[in-house]
Amino acid sequence: MFSKRKQLALAGTVADLPLESVKGRSPWRDAMNRFARNKAAVFSVVLLVLITVACIVGPWLVPHSFDDTDWGAISLPPTWAGTHWFGTDELGRDILVRTLIGGRISLLVGLLGTIASVALGIAWGAVAGFLGGKTDSVMMRIVDMMYAVPYLLIAILMMTLFGREFYLVIITIAVFSWLDTARVVRGQTLTLKSREFVEAAHAIGVPTHRIIFSHIVPNLLGIVAIYTTVTVPGVILTESVLSFLGLGVQEPMTSWGALIGDSVGKMDQQPWMLLFPSLFLCATLSCANYIGDGLRDAFDPKDR
């Protein structure tokens, strides 16, 4: 019990405080502040946005088309003089516009492949974790088995058998990149399923599939979104490897991996064909890695 005087004094101090200083900070804002202090990650975000915008907008600004063959400018080295700033290949196609168009494909595959793989991973992990018991152990056994498979080879086999359509590239990549997500999601689901709101849902008779997909999954999305930023560079890399081997998207369409694959064997004459796509690919991969690390550090208080 406070004396009347003391109460007055307390009320006075609280009222005297400027309002801003007692504003609460959400964990989200906390994490964003931590992320903003990570210089490498912030720089990576800026660079990645620049690369993305360049790949989306760039091809309309460059006065060449990605499949135009310019017979007057074959194997031209990079030059400021003309309009082929990144040089041309042996068919006279502009490397700048091909790099940007290739970037569209690589980034799009990175995005769609990640979405597909995360969706699969969430569904698999949430169902396994929630149902538990035999179902869980069988489903996670399948994940273990798939880890043991040399997946690049299966991807090669799938591309061989089913053709090289754009959407097939994405499916092939997604089929093998959801395993990590499934494990993280299962772990999270195990902790979520004993929480009160799930119990409440059980009690009012919500069917299992609705508990999983409208009660469990929305609660997983935050943590999963962060962990899956790590999936993006992996997906881009897999697409690049397939394209590099000549098993990705088909000519004249191209991607960074395909452009790098083209340049091998012509490096003594046209090293710029290797240089520019490699720069874009490596910059994108390292940006994605730094952003993923930065997000994980910012949102995962355990590791601080």
Binding site: L152, F162, L245, V264, S286
Partner: protein, 311 residues
């Protein structure tokens, strides 16, 4: 221990079998048969061919024939290379892959462990930064960029006085000089992984209680590191060694493509672009089986390194 090995084997078999079955089904779901070529073959010849390869049988029977052949170590005939069985193609390619991959695994293990120890003992020194830098390179510069860059530097830009590059840009005739760049590329990638993991493992081990005890006894640093800390610190290295060795020896697809080495990886890419189904299937099956065996060996290696692990 024996019951653990047995249990692991019992899991390894369904894994391999599942992969084989899935690949086999995928192969047979695709339209077109091996003898649908432009050249017209008379019906009788076609029937004979199909009978020879059991293609006139129902699918489950063909599958059992294939499994039976596999059990006898026969991967079948190549679709594209006439007169070649998949076995003989593998027999030609495997030594190349095994030599290059094996060398690089040994090199990257030795160099990676040494660099990792040095970096862990001298944190924030130059060697520490070198290891971390190598690790970042391994993360951001994929092998199919690093390989061409190595060729550009050592085979094109750096020249002998006679006009040839220092090292050959690719190819294979069994001479050691053709191995240098591919081995260097594979080693560079794996050293980064192993070095970083070794560094992290040793730093963690060095801060544990039994190391403090060893220090308190006044043991010299050398004894502490090599007698006490090394073994537990190697456990995480062993866990990546399995995948590293598998990919280096059996599926150095990118490396062999960059340097046109006639190994297993090159064979599988050629098979894929020629749509040589049996060849690709055979290689996938072979490599999966090798991978499963390697993973088993790695798990057993844990037991040797860590007496706390009991099966």
């Amino acid at each position: 221990m024996w019951s653990y090995i047995l249990r692991r084997l019992l899991w390894a078999i369904p894994t391999a079998l599942a992969v084989i079955t899935l690949c086999y089904l995928m192969l047979h779901l695709t339209p077109g048969g091996p003898f649908d070529s432009e050249r017209q073959v008379s019906a009788a010849v076609l029937a004979n061919l199909q009978a020879k390869y059991h293609l006139d049988q129902p699918l489950w029977r063909q599958y059992l024939y294939y499994l039976n052949d596999l059990l006898h170590g026969d991967l079948g005939a190549s679709f594209r290379y006439a007169d070649w069985s998949v076995n003989s193609l593998v027999a030609q390619a495997l030594p190349v892959s095994a030599t290059v991959g094996g060398l690089s695994v040994i090199l990257s293990l030795v160099i990676g462990v040494i660099l990792g120890i040095a970096a862990a003992l001298r944190q924030n020194s130059i060697i520490d930064y070198v290891v971390m830098f190598l690790g970042n390179i391994g993360n951001t510069i994929p092998s199919f960029v690093m390989g061409p860059v190595l060729i550009l530097i050592f085979a094109i830009w750096l020249k002998h006085p006679d006009g040839n590059g220092w090292l050959p840009a690719g190819g294979w005739d069994g001479h050691a000089i053709y191995m240098i760049l591919p081995v260097a590329l594979l080693t560079l990638i794996n050293v980064a992984t192993i070095g970083r993991i070794m560094r992290a493992g040793l730093i963690e081990t060095m801060s544990s209680n039994f190391i403090r005890t060893a220090r308190a006894k006044g043991l010299p640093l050398r004894t502490i590191v090599f007698r006490h800390a090394l073994k537990p610190a190697l456990i995480p290295v062993a866990s990546v060694l399995g995948p590293v060795a598998i990919s280096a020896i059996t599926a150095a697809v990118v490396t062999e493509t960059v340097f046109s080495l006639p190994g297993l990886g090159k064979l599988i890419v050629n098979g894929a672009s020629n749509r040589d189904y049996t060849l690709v299937l055979g290689l996938v099956v072979l490599i999966t089986v090798i991978a499963v065996v390697f993973n088993l060996l790695v798990d057993l290696a844990y037991a040797l390194l860590d007496p706390r692990i009991r099966y």
